[in-house]
Subunit: 334 residues, 2 copies
């Protein structure tokens, strides 16, 4: 462990303190033979189409039930590759640390990051650390970039979607957004709810071989409703969701009713929305139900010919247009 | 252009405002056919060893003579690939924007970023934007990750270095650090000095074919002195620098004398330090002198058998141990 108890500006200046921070804290946890003296790291790639994705993380608080900003950064980036049909292989990590940050907290974040990376089978091969003056950050911001490889014959995309296709979600919605909000304690609410943040790779690996698979996405910022809008806009069709079919955990429902939120707009960090041909839906549902991470999977809607937009069939049998998210009721959940 | 004049939290929440910001500002400048709806972007790679690198940027002020945080982010990342012997191909971009940031300033930064990427031949293929509350940032932080490909038969590394090898620098040192410091106006100094920030790819492409090329690095944070310490530590040999041979521009020298800085510790953002076999030094020097970016190139030192460390031969004929940087006299120059 490094000597200091708190991060100082010297930990970001390119000299001895920065080297100690990187070698003793980051490389020790993430290492596995990574050469921290390299300007650029080799990333041998197997056959297939290489894919890249990047994400920034500013979640508050930095730690929450079910994870912290470190594990979240891994899951967010791994999941963007996984829903694109790729097997994630490599990560790079940028850390913006605020002067005065507790080194012990940073160590917990890096440990969770290392554990999540190992569980998802990705290697952290490059990193960079900057320290910003006290007050010009909020502890830790992270940015992660992921590289993976997709089988060359896998065709996934919004352009594959056809009227009649069905929408599935792999589990309950809004858990992450609600768990982070409860962790803030700004509403005086407490609960046992944990974030769903996790790698969705087992779910996407189960879906990938199915011939009727059209499209997958992880419903993060803006939730399932925002994915539905992207589907409508990208496919040019109407997306019809059945409110009664969308899995929402009791505590999420309760918090949303109390505060006037809609769980459809709240972030998940370990769920997949998939669009499949009608004949494929039962197969995928069965495959997901056989996985720990997919036990709550449901068919939640369908694609229909018609004006692009999102229609929600309410539990009472009515229907309404689901608006696009304008302003976030819960900022900084990722 | 987007409607708003200033960035608000809604520009980071995953909804309509964020989509407008990304489509109208980032994608319009960086676009070139990038599909902003993709979770992960395909990056077809030619033959060779794929390399990856990542960097964060928190420079203050955001704009300075010779560049801004956007062009700096491209150059910093492209240069890490270039000195590793790779041809840079792809970039990903993370932007952490502070609520209240002027959209016009952001547009200038993105324009410079786009121009620098185009000049270096790299394509920005993926990005992410987060907005942090007013006061919890300092306008813009960027993180960029670069992917390139190195010829499979190119052997570069600290382990290639042998006693007798010579050190070259491609141009004057400390320009970037000094230009950014002057732009801060915190010392009441002004000057015409411009940052040297630029892609070093032309310099590294000229060096790559030379058989005696052992190692290249760009002397950024911590300057040429820090590279010399890395060389000493990594090779296990002594690095001997000749102060009289190290090119320092007049204004940099003047500022350093006035403020008690050492130009050897100040950042460059467009220079290369190369280690070559003695017989290769004249060839590389001639090749660099033939390039606009390398006109100021010099042989500045050599590798000697002996205790690892850095010795500076002073202009008066003496010598002293050059200490490792402990604390940065000029933080936040990148």
């Amino acid at each position: 462990m490094i000597e200091s108890t708190h991060i100082s500006l010297a930990h970001g200046n390119g000299g001895r303190f920065m080297r100690e921070l990187i070698d003793q804290l980051f490389a020790r946890q993430l290492g596995g033979g990574v050469d921290t003296d390299l300007d650029a790291a080799p990333i041998p790639l197997p056959e297939g189409v290489p894919l890249i994705t990047t994400d920034g993380f500013t979640v508050q608080p930095l730690e929450f039930p079910g994870g912290n900003i470190g594990s979240l950064a891994v899951h967010g980036t791994v999941n963007d590759l996984a829903v694109s049909g790729a097997t994630p292989l490599y990560l790079t990590l940028n850390a913006f640390l605020e002067e005065g940050l507790e080194v012990a907290l940073l160590a917990r974040v890096v440990a969770a990051l290392a554990q999540a990376a190992q569980a998802a089978g990705v290697k952290v091969v490059a990193g960079d650390t900057k320290v910003v003056p006290r007050g010009e950050g909020s502890g830790i911001y992270l940015a992660t970039t992921g590289v993976g490889v997709r089988p060359a014959d896998l065709r996934l995309g919004i352009d594959q979607i056809q009227p009649g296709d069905l929408l599935l979600v792999s589990g309950s919605v809004g858990d992450h957004g609600t768990a982070v909000m409860l962790a803030r304690e700004q509403f005086g609410l407490r609960g046992d709810l944990r974030s769903d943040a996790a790698s969705v790779l087992p779910l996407t690996l189960a879906a990938r071989p199915l011939p009727g698979l059209r499209f997958m996405r992880d419903p993060t910022r803006g939730g399932v409703a925002t994915v539905a809008h992207e589907l409508a806009r990208g496919s040019g069709h109407c997306v019809r969701l059945q409110a009664a079919a969308i899995p929402v955990q009791g505590p999420v429902q309760a918090v949303c009713e109390m505060l006037g939120y809609d769980p459809l707009f709240l972030a998940c960090e370990g769920r997949v929305v998939a669009v499949v041909a009608p004949a494929t839906a039962p197969t995928l549902l069965a495959a997901w139900h056989g996985l720990e991470a997919g036990r709550g999977a449901q068919v939640i809607g369908r694609i229909e010919a018609g004006r692009p937009g999102v229609i929600l069939e309410t539990e009472l049998g009515g229907e309404r247009l689901l608006e696009e998210l304008e302003d976030d009721p819960l900022p900084r959940i990722c």
